[in-house]
Amino acid sequence: MSAIRRRLTRGPAIQSQTIRRGAGETALPYAMVTPLLVFIGVLALYPTVLTAYGAFVHNDALDPPNHFTGFGNFQSVFNDPQVRQSLLNTGLYVIFGVLLSVALGTFFGLLLQRRFRGRGVVLALMVLPWALPGVVEGVIWSWIYDPTFGVLNSTLKTVGAIHNYQLWLGTHQIETIFFISLVQVWQITPLAAILILASLQAIPGELYEAADVDGANGWQSIKRITLPLIRPGLAIAVVEGLVMSINIFDQVYVLNAGASTGSSLMSETYQITFGNLNFGQGYALSLLATVTTIVLSLLAVKLIYRKVEF
């Protein structure tokens, strides 16, 4: 997102690249951007305005009519213990999701930093989980987590890590969230790895040679050269992880099966809106989540992002 801002403030540079147009072509640029603007206006901006407005309107299919209610919807959702639980759960999804995906992504990025035979193939295989539908991943992992026939239980028992087969999902709150989050981490880690790899490859090799000459060991060069210089990549990976984990739904829908143990903000919003048909409360939660997503993303960029010059 910072990249976006940077791009926008670079107005004059863009200006100089624009090409000269012949006479009678003044309408052309508008014609070219109109379809884009119509789509975004009608199906992104207008709905967002409706969400912001709907959050302040009492809109319950079981209790008509609709009327303005101020912060009434917010009060009712915050008084709902199920919503409070889902907010707490979402906080945990964010912590697990961001930390694990960025840590694993950095590790994978470092592994792929230098050229070696077969690197292209490894990169392709690493991308696979990112490209698969989250729902399908939830289904695949639910078989891995199966309490009676799951490969996780049988493997852990074989190596002696557990004595009895475990119910990984649905009993303990933190455990349930961890194992559902792991499925999302599996999906988004390739994205983090690619973003971090892109900034790793921008680091000039001479820096490492110089460190090598000065007698630095591998860990020292990672700590002193690599980590400070990949901050832009890390920032974007953190933001992507944040947005994905605040929005976690598909994996929860499949693996949590409607229980409140692992419910997320999104699954709770879905339940309140399309299950209880209380659209007003659904709008209130949606607005809350939208604002939180945007504020946290901006904050993360501000904290981590620092322009790197070589």
């Binding site: 997102m1 976006i4 690249q17 624009t18 072509e25 640029p29 070219m32 951007v33 884009l36 603007l37 789509f39 975004i40 009608v42 199906l43 992104a44 901006l45 207008y46 709905p47 967002t48 409706l50 969400t51 490894v122 990169l123 392709a124 295989l125 690493m126 991308v127 696979l128 490209a131 698969l132 539908p133 989250g134 399908v136 991943e137 289904v139 639910s142 078989w143 026939f149 049988s154 690619i194 900034s199 591998g218 832009p232 990549g233 974007i236 739904f249 829908y253 499949v254 999104m266 919003t269 879905y270 809106t273 399309f274 659209f279 659904g282 949606s286 939208t290 997503t293 945007i294 993303s297």
Partner: protein, 294 residues
């Protein structure tokens, strides 16, 4: 002599150790990335009894294809799935391809205008389009449902394609914008001096050059479309437009369908994106990088 060669020996040993460590790391990476998919494939080729054996068999012993037959509505166990997966595969394909085509055309044309042409309000309009990149699903989900219900576009391909397109446009536009920005303007300037119109320059010169960028944007859009879940879940209440994601979650949620069949259906849902990753992964990496860093 001996004193001089001493530093070299530990360094060579260190390199060997580093190579060994990286090999082990790559092993972990591959196991983590591939095992869940392999496990689904393995299970989908077993009978139910084999899948429930303990300890589980890590390789399919007889390659049973009856689960795939059941998924597509053939064979004795097909009753449990009602053969909905075939229709869902068709729905996923129509919706993802339709959204990809529409998104690509609109995004490429719009991105070129923003990247290269000068017009009033360009900065403000561009900012609005890019800002929608930050909107999460929450912002639009419920209103889109009410809007589409009013327009009677619920349970239609058109409705789903329009919604997907609006969601994927900002990213596709941003990817293409960055691709256009990376082109040197001198070619276009030369053509303009030779008297070519803007449209001629765009169609004859620019589009052929950015074909790889368009492939990247198209592939990423298609994969997003294929993976969509909450929008089609909300926007469809019948099997007629249900994509594979919704059909599979319904299948798994019924708790009576054997896991061997569910895994076969999961492999069907995975097959298309997996083939894309194996054969076109270069474009995916380029697209992700163009869509985020820069």
């Amino acid at each position: 002599m001996g004193a001089l060669s001493r530093p070299a020996a530990p360094r060579r040993a260190g390199r060997r150790r580093a190579r060994w460590l990286r090999g082990a790391g790559i092993g972990v990476l591959l196991l983590w990335s591939l095992f869940p998919v392999y496990w689904a494939l393995n299970t989908s080729l077993m009978t139910n009894a084999q899948a429930q054996s303990s300890p589980p068999s890590f390789f399919p012993t007889h390659f049973v294809f009856s689960n795939y037959e059941a998924v597509f509505g053939y064979g004795p166990s097909s009753a449990s799935t009602a053969g909905g997966v075939g229709q869902a595969l068709l729905n996923s394909s129509i919706e993802s391809l339709g959204a990809t085509l529409l998104t690509l055309v609109i995004a490429v044309v719009g991105a070129y205008a923003f990247a290269r042409l000068r017009f009033r309000l360009r900065g403000a309009l561009f900012y609005i389009v890019v800002a929608t990149l930050t909107l999460p699903v929450y912002a639009t989900l419920i209103p889109i449902y009410t809007i589409l219900t009013k327009l009677q576009l619920v349970n239609t391909y058109i409705g789903i394609i329009l919604v997907y397109t609006s969601g994927f446009l900002p990213l596709a536009m941003w990817i293409m914008y960055n691709m256009f920005q990376a082109l040197p303007a001198s070619i276009e300037e030369a053509a303009a001096i030779d008297g070519a119109t803007t449209l001629q320059i765009f169609r004859r010169i620019v589009l052929p050059i950015v074909r790889p960028g368009m492939a990247a944007a198209a592939i990423i859009t298609f994969l997003f479309g294929w993976g969509q879940f909450i929008f089609p879940l909300v926007l469809g209440s019948t099997n007629s437009t249900e994509p594979l994601t919704v059909a599979l979650s319904a299948l798994a949620g019924r708790h009576v369908v054997p896991y061997t069949i569910i895994n076969a259906a999961a492999i069907v849902a995975i097959a298309v994106p997996a083939l894309i990753v194996f054969f076109l992964n270069r474009y995916i990496v380029d697209g992700i990088v163009a869509g985020s860093v820069k």
